[in-house]
Each structure stands twice: as C-alpha cells, then as structure tokens.
Amino acid sequence: MAKGSKKRNILPGFGLSLGYTMLYLGLLVLIPLSSVFFKSFELSFGEFWQIISNERVVASYRLSFATSLIAALINAVFGLAVAWVLVRYRFPGKRLLDALVDLPFALPTAVAGIALTQLYSPKGWIGSLLEPLHIKVAYTPLGIIVALTFIGIPFVVRTVQPVLQELDREIEEAAASLGARRLRVFVQVIFPELLPALITGFALAFARAIGEYGSVVFISGNMPMKTEIAPLLIMTRLEQFDYPGATAIALVMLIVSFVLLLFINYLQWRSGRRAAAA
C-alpha cells in the first residue's frame, strides 16, 4: 500500500503519465471494445435472442464451457501436484521442469495447436497408442480438452507455487508435534491455506480457456454442433460477413469474461488483504 495519505505528493509527472495512460487505454482498448456494445444495440432484443438461442450457437457455448471447465479442473488437480513437487521435493531435472512450466505462455498458440494435433491424430505418437483402445482424441471434444489443458498449465502452478513457498512451516510442525498424521496436516492445515490461490489459478485457467482459439482450431476438427467452439463460430460468422451474428455471439462471451475478470480481481484483492493483515 502506498503510504503518506495526507501529505502532498512531490513526485513529478503525474498529469503526464496518467493522461497518456488514459489516452492510450481509451484509443486502443476502450473505444474499440465499445463497438461490440454499440453494434449489438443496433439489434432488437428479439433479433439478438434469435441469434444467440440458435441451436448451433448454444452448442458452441456449451462445448466451450464444458471443455474449459474440465481442462481447468484437470489443471487444478495436476497443477497443485506440480507446484507441490517443485516447492517441496528435490529431484533431478527439477529446475528445467520449473522453467518449462511457462512454455504455454511463451509458445505461440498455433504452434501448440499443430504439435498437439500431430501427437494425438490417429497416426501420431500418442494417437496411435490410443487407437487400439478405440479412444479418439484429435477431432473430438477430448482433443479440445487436451489443447485447453496445455494452455492452462502455468496458471495454477504459478499462483499456488509462491503461496506454498511462503507457507509457515511452524504451523505444520505444531500440528505434527500435537500428533496429527501427515495426511491430516495436509487436509486441515496446508490445504485451506492453498485454497484461495488454487481457486484463483483455476479461474485464470478457465477464463483463458473460454476465449482460446489458436491451439484449439487445429485439433478440434471444427464440426458444427460437435467440435465447434464459440470463438471459432465468431470467426465463421465474420467470414460470411454476418457481422450482427458475430457481434451478438461475442457480446455474450464478453460479458462472461467481464464477470470472470471481476471475480478474479476480487479473489486477488482478498488474498492481498489477507497477506497485508498477516
């Protein structure tokens, strides 16, 4: 928290830096973004409803939500395990693995998309192993989940990791000295401390997955009603020059994104306050 609430700030450059920030934010982000709302207002509510309640649109929303939710859940479980192992244990190759966790941030999504498609297609290294088991990953919703899990990996790991590092070992020692078994210490002492970070990481991974496009389009096969995610449907509508359609679908997604953003900021604000109080 900044201090010196009453005293006058003597530092220079407030007007310039804030003015420039607002101007740049307004021109590049806010004004262009408002176009989605204004364009949607050109539609009557009936027309808007007709677009977004269309069978194909509803199917794409449902698919986007379901696959993003499953991918974020997978990341919550395995991300927690990865964070735990990276903080608490020593093993060969740990530093390299730690650095690699950020790969999905640094790697362009299209590259992830073609690499995963190649791996999980029926002729690919993993796809050919799953073929005899009659499990198809590429060009099915399962493939979308794989891609969304890939791009979500860093979120849970990187939000849980610092909390785990800062965790006071004395509480664990106290619990252990009082005779608590290791599992009980984890469930009753450690896990509640990690939960806010875990939820934040989950929400971040989910928010990212909802809007993801690049890594999914290659592996999903893009069949309407079956493997067509909402961002792809916006793309399809645009290619058909159906701007009202694209905008209406986008507006619903934007509102979902705003709600998620507010929720995540609230979580982070709360954990920041907890940290400040501690």
Binding site: L11, G13, V29, L97, Y213, F218, L238
Partner: protein, 298 residues
C-alpha cells in the same frame, strides 16, 4: 490476470526434509512421478514433436521452408509488427505503472482492472472489434474507403490487433515491482532538486530494469506469436498480410507438415529465448535479495 502470471521473485528455498514433516517415501515418489509424467506428456512431447517433424525430411527441406519467399515475407511482417507494438506498449506500461504506483487518485483500482481487460478477452473478439471500427461497414469504414485508406485486412489492422492483445504485459510486470519499491528514493531525489527525467534515468530505470526486460520479452513473444486476433484482421493475403503464425497455419493446411513445423520451430526458439530471459531475471532478483539480506545481517 488471464494471459500472464508475473515473474516470481521469491527465492526458492526448497529442501527435502525428513522426520514428521516429510511424507512417506512412496508418497513422495508417486507425486514426483505424477507431476513429471503430466508435464512430459503435455509439455515436453509437443516440444519434441515440433523439432522431429521439422527435420523429418532432412535439413535441406528445413532450410528450404525457411527461405521460401512467403516465409521470408511473413518473418518480415512479424518483425515489423513487433517493432511498432513492443515500444508503444513499453512506453504505455512505464507511464501506467508510474501513475498507478507512485500516486494516489480515485478510480485507481478501476484503472488497474481496465488495463487487464485485453487478457480477459478472446483473441477473436480482439480482432472483431477492429473490424467493427475500421471495416468496410464499420464506424470509419465509409470515410476510410473514400480516402482509400486500408486498415483491416492490411498491415495497420495487424499492428492494432497485436497492440491490443499485448497491451497489458509491461504494465502488469512493472506495477507489482514498483509498488513494492515504494516512493522514498524518488522523493529523496526530488527533495534534492532532481528533475523528472533525471529521476527516471537515474533511479526508476535502474530499479526496474530486469522486470522491465521481462515484460518487454513477454510482450514481444506474444506480439510475434499472436494468432487469433491477427487471423481475424489479416485477410490472409499470401506474401502481404501473413505473419509467421498465419504462415504456419496455411502451410500446415496444405499438408506440408515438414515445412509447417520448420517455420514453427522458429517460434519454438523464440519461446525458449523468452523462458531463458525469465529464468535469468528471476535469478537476478533472487541474488539481489540474497545480497541485500546478507548485507543487512553484517
């Protein structure tokens, strides 16, 4: 926020422990195995795949794919876009972080949330909004057509969409860092009569340089690798409005896998460079912290 997690400047002091605070060995081994297998399947295997297919048909095919005219023009466009977008967003990031961390003003939290907005928005929507503004049937469409200026389906649109999606990176990296540093050093300099730019070059910049570097590198990685937003506004004109990721898509969809993965391997190298800088910056901060602590204890 969604899209990025800031660099972790906490020094890692993990140690294997024994006694009542350690899990049984089999639990430890199982957890390590689960984590390693999960990351190997999802991260390492795709990484190996890219290089395997890139070189599958030989080194000659690899370099032929990279030196093809369309590939070269895609590289040029990507470099041009990054050269415009990264400095613009860096300047913005520094200004925003300065205003937000060094001053108090109403609406600060709202501003911080608004800066995060582009991370929360689907890249496809990021492209869509510039079509709604500058497209033929958009707000400025008729005026632009009249004056024969092309923004969407041309290079300016690609630059705008890229700037939008990479907008928060530098600011996100700098805000927590400058928040933690407080305002004392700058205030002392001001009291001693230093002018604004002197304070910036002598105090602010040396304090934030590594965080700034990481923000710039992340911004650059995303600027060069953005796919969805650019895909919407590019129009996919070969040799004119294709960036590297779009070129990868086109070649891949033509079933020229070796060529697609060859070009993709360039982007993989970019990702490696980004991760290397991140590790370096974190190491720098951890060392700085350690030196500070040992200095204080003496």
């Amino acid at each position: 926020m969604a899209g990025s997690v800031t660099a972790n400047y906490v020094s890692a002091t993990a140690a294997a422990r024994t006694g009542p605070l350690a899990e049984p060995a089999w639990v430890r081994r199982t957890l390590i195995a689960v984590a390693v297998i999960f990351l190997a399947l999802l991260l390492i295997l795709p990484l190996v795949t890219v290089f395997y297919y890139a070189f599958k048909e030989g080194v000659r095919v690899y370099f032929a794919a990279l030196s093809e005219p369309d590939a070269l023009s895609a590289v040029r466009l990507t470099l041009l876009t990054a050269a415009i977008v990264v400095p613009a967003n860096t300047l913005f990031g520094i200004a925003a972080a300065w205003a937000i961390t060094k001053f108090r003003f109403p609406g600060k939290n709202v501003l911080t949330t608004l800066i995060d907005l582009p991370f929360a928005i689907s890249p496809v929507i990021a492209g869509l909004i510039f079509i709604l503004v500058f497209g033929a049937r958009g707000w400025f469409g008729p005026w632009l057509t009249e004056h024969d200026i092309k923004i969407v389906f041309a290079v300016p649109g690609i630059v705008l969409a890229t700037a939008f999606v990479t907008f928060p990176f530098v600011a996100r990296e700098l805000i927590p860092l400058m928040q933690a540093q407080g305002t004392q050093e700058e205030e002392a300099a001001t009291t001693l009569g230093a002018r604004g730019w002197t304070i910036f070059w002598r105090i602010v910049l040396p304090n934030i340089k590594w965080g700034l570097l990481y923000g710039i590198i992340l911004c650059n990685a995303r600027a060069m690798g953005e796919f969805g937003a650019v895909s919407v506004v590019s129009g996919h004109i070969r040799g004119v409005t294709n960036t590297i990721p779009l070129h990868v898509q086109i070649v891949y969809n033509e079933y020229k896998f070796a060529a697609a993965f060859a070009v993709a391997s360039l982007l993989m190298l970019l990702a490696f460079a980004t991760l290397a800088v991140k590790s370096f910056v974190e190491w720098k901060y951890a060392r700085g912290l350690a030196m500070k602590e040992s200095g204080e204890s003496i």
